[in-house]
Symmetry: C2
Subunit: 159 residues, 2 copies
């Protein structure tokens, strides 16, 4: 996604951390050092990152960490709407609208690997109507759209 390749990403990270502080303060929960660090690592890019990648990065900076450490941090961050899981990749990415308690809606580029969260309000409504038509009460939704972003659309590749 050429636009996001070019942007000031440190601002993304700072905004995400500030939002996380605010959400945790409001909810009376603790953004501990490891949770904060995992969130920072997730936000190092807009590409979803695997739990074991996070683990490796923690290890490389000298922090003792085992898989449960990372998974617990990720569970916490997901519970409070700070990161999303990308099921089709078994990976995690920062939430663009921290704390808003929405379902995740992503466009995932098979060229550059970036995942862009989009406003799925319209989709959520449409899905709710479809569900209602089947007597189905919707609680949450997973929407992961795979394709090519604007920057990668013209390039060669498998996507």
């Amino acid at each position: 996604m050429s636009a996001s390749h070019a942007h000031d990403h440190s601002r993304c990270i700072n905004d995400a951390l500030a939002a996380a502080d605010a959400v945790c303060a409001e909810r009376g929960v603790r953004l501990t050092e490891i949770r904060r660090r995992v969130l920072e690592l997730v936000w190092q890019s807009h590409r979803p990152v695997g739990a074991y990648d996070l683990l490796d990065r923690l290890a490389s900076e000298g922090r003792r960490a085992a898989p449960p450490t990372v998974y617990r941090a990720l569970d916490f961050l997901m519970e409070h709407g700070l990161v999303h899981r990308i099921h089709s990749l078994n990976a995690f990415v920062g939430c663009a609208w921290a704390g808003e308690g929405h379902s995740a809606n992503f466009m995932i580029c098979s060229g550059c690997g970036e995942a862009v969260e989009f406003d799925g309000t319209g989709l959520t409504e449409a899905i709710g109507r479809i569900g209602a038509g089947h007597g189905f009460r919707v609680r949450s939704q997973v929407v992961e759209v795979i394709g090519r972003c604007a920057g990668c659309a013209g390039e060669a590749g498998h996507g």
Copy 2:
């Protein structure tokens, strides 16, 4: 899903196998014994089934099988539009519209565990429009709606 609990499920299975025969014949590919058996096992219910569950069932009927056997069969069946993967469950379920080359759209009941495929034509169009608005060229989509089916909506439970 009370309606599907009550239905004549043997008909689902027979229809699925007949459709699979037709698709494979049309495409000049072979629905080998193991592929056919895996498809039957997937269709034993409308609940998504894990690869290792399938493996256990194959073993319990005396068939020698290792993980690659099942995954290869599942890959074949997915490639030809006969089963879908439910990413949020790491599980597989029969396709309601065999061979039509569509993306999967499912409603998954957290009460009974059944996954019902629905016609996502409208969603696909909406997603295409959203993508176009971002310069994103959609290739496929994963839509997994979690909630409570009509039969389970009134019951207690975590869903």
